[in-house]
């Protein structure tokens, strides 16, 4: 597929439109349909992070760009908000019981766990989160793999 991108106001109400775009892109790559649950989840977590934290004072945009082929699907999530590296977020304590367990932190954890590669960089005043998915997927990120 040729690279495609969309821009939306960074608001939770636009999540459905953004996920629809990503689902359409993944639908053009035969292997990516199998990884769609992971892809959708990671993109939601990344976009929700932008909506919640990138623009604390006034609104702004989030750009989502998809580029894929037989061997990989790359999804870039970009915003012009405050610098924030989602990959630096603290690991949640997965063994804590219900009362001790922290309510936050799971989104960042899922981004790292369910993508095959996640890279962050700050460039030209923008946060760029580059998410890569591969046909085989990660162990645990895909059910039914032989």
């Amino acid at each position: 597929m040729p690279p495609r991108s969309v821009r939306y106001e960074a608001r939770i109400e636009n999540l459905e439109g953004i996920l629809g775009f990503v689902t359409d892109c993944a639908g053009e790559i035969p292997w990516a349909a199998r990884r769609l649950p992971d892809i959708e989840l990671v993109v939601e977590e990344a976009v929700v992070n932008v909506c919640k934290y990138a623009y604390p004072d006034q609104g702004g945009e989030v750009e989502v760009r998809c580029d894929g082929n037989d061997t990989a699907l790359s999804i870039l999530i970009a915003d012009s908000g405050v610098p924030f590296n989602v990959l630096d977020a603290e690991e949640p304590d997965l063994s804590a019981d219900i009362l001790e367990r922290q309510v936050g932190g799971l989104g960042c954890f899922l981004i790292r766990s369910m993508s095959d590669r996640a890279e962050y960089r700050r460039e030209g005043g923008r946060n760029l989160l580059d998410l890569t998915f591969l046909p085989g997927g990660k162990a645990g990120g895909e059910s039914g793999d032989a």
Partner: protein, 111 residues
């Protein structure tokens, strides 16, 4: 996301279908909160029709479970499968909660 509530003798079955994401998860939390305010303490979440859950859904579940703990209530699950089960396992929720095959087996475990 759609939520159907059915009251049984010893628990309230909450059947959630569709997608529990950042947009819909607050509805789940509010519904459960309302049922708790009405005095319900034991819930079985029937997730057999749930096809997707994100961290927003997990957060709503955890917040509900924390609130239930303080009134000695319980939150059980049935029909957690596919991508939802993957997310439960990877985030440690699989060991945090009792997962049952069906609402009936969950109800039996409540006694």
């Amino acid at each position: 996301m759609d939520i159907q509530v059915r009251k049984e003798k010893n628990a309230t079955i909450v059947a959630v279908t569709g997608k529990m994401d950042a947009v819909t998860a607050p509805d789940y939390e509010q519904q459960l909160r309302r049922l708790m305010d009405e005095g319900e303490k034991t819930f079985v979440n029937d997730f057999s029709g749930l096809v997707y859950i994100s961290s927003a859904g997990l957060r709503s579940i955890l917040a509900t479970a924390k609130a239930l703990k303080t009134v000695e209530g319980r939150l059980l699950f049935s029909g957690v499968t596919g991508p939802v089960k993957d997310v439960f396992e990877i985030s440690g929720f699989g060991s945090l909660f009792q997962l049952h095959d069906s609402p009936d087996t969950a109800l039996k475990s409540v006694g």
